[in-house]
């Protein structure tokens, strides 16, 4: 198991789909994590071809105390009629690290998100007792879920309400095309670290 990062306690692994139709939810999750004062980590971080994808996941999960797992996408691919299993697999790795990992891994905490609160009982009943939360497919509700979860993890830190955080996200989204225009980029094709840096700098300039 790789050594935990020095920022282990502040790091949140975001496990979610990367499809274009999930992009708004993904960005809202990254924004909410950052606005709560945590560091968002993702498998979309820079690729190193010498590292296999699964090793990259092991490394990032080992470096994050927290995990945010969205298992809401269960639909069959229209082409091959098969579902994608990456999100449940990564959730399993995270739960395994917490159960069987070194002592520093055993204080891991996670939030599981789905579209409907008890839907997981149909397709992943072993999650019973993990208390998944529902975002209803809405980015605003996902922001609120993340905010409430991380607020409970750090009760000594003051945070604005989920609604206020959502309004801040919308303002950042309105500003993003101007920032991307200056960088000669399309807002929909930002590399993960550029996306995270844009959010972090925007938040530093707009404290609540």
């Amino acid at each position: 198991m790789p050594a935990p990062s020095p920022r282990y306690d502040d790091s949140v692994f975001i496990n979610c789909p990367f499809s274009p139709d999930y992009q708004e939810l993904f960005r809202a999750l990254v924004f909410a994590v950052a606005d709560c004062g945590f560091l968002a980590r993702s498998a979309l971080e820079k690729n190193d071809s010498s590292e296999t994808r699964i090793d990259k996941l092991y490394r990032i999960i080992a470096q994050c105390r927290y995990g945010l797992h969205d298992i809401s996408v269960t639909e069959l691919d229209p082409g091959n009629r098969l579902p994608r299993f990456n999100m449940p697999l990564e959730l399993g790795i995270f739960l395994g690290a917490r159960k069987f990992g070194s002592p520093s891994q055993r204080d891991k905490g996670c939030l599981i998100l789905d579209r409907e609160r008890f839907r997981y009982q149909i397709f992943c009943s072993d999650l019973a007792g993990q208390d998944p939360k529902s975002h209803g497919g809405k980015a605003a509700d996902a922001v609120k879920c993340v905010r409430d979860w991380l607020r409970a993890e750090r009760p000594s830190i003051r945070l604005p309400s989920g609604m206020r955080m959502w309004e801040r996200y919308r303002q950042w989204m309105a500003d993003l095309p101007v920032i991307c225009d200056a960088l000669l980029l399309e807002p929909d094709s930002l590399e993960f670290h550029d996306l995270a840096t844009t959010i972090e700098e925007w938040l530093l300039e707009n404290p609540w």
Partner: protein, 100 residues
């Protein structure tokens, strides 16, 4: 009760300084119809004002946010520059350099 601090991720394709300049800057954008220029400040207190000429827009941008860089977005040909305004008496000189 503490206020949360913002964590900083590793740099991506663009340096943190470049992105900070853009977030803090005042943006002067050529309108899509090419019939004017907009001055836009970003953030929760951001605002937008419209002008007929680029020089008018840059003059306004200078007043809108005094210590920020002025980022000029020209549409045709596509070009992004940083404007520097110098005043000597009644004379105003605007120089544009490449965004770094």
């Amino acid at each position: 009760m503490q206020i949360r601090a913002i964590q900083r991720s590793k740099p991506g394709t663009y340096s943190r300084d470049t992105i900070r300049t853009l977030v803090r800057g005042v943006h002067v954008l050529e309108t899509s119809a090419g019939d004017g220029w907009e001055v836009r400040t970003l953030g929760e207190n951001g605002r937008t004002e419209r002008f007929a000429t680029k020089d008018q827009a840059i003059e306004f941008a200078l007043q809108a946010k005094k210590h920020a860089k002025i980022i000029v977005h020209q549409r045709q040909p596509k070009k992004v520059t940083v404007a520097q305004v110098r005043k000597a008496g009644n004379r105003t000189t605007i120089q544009e350099s490449e965004l770094r």
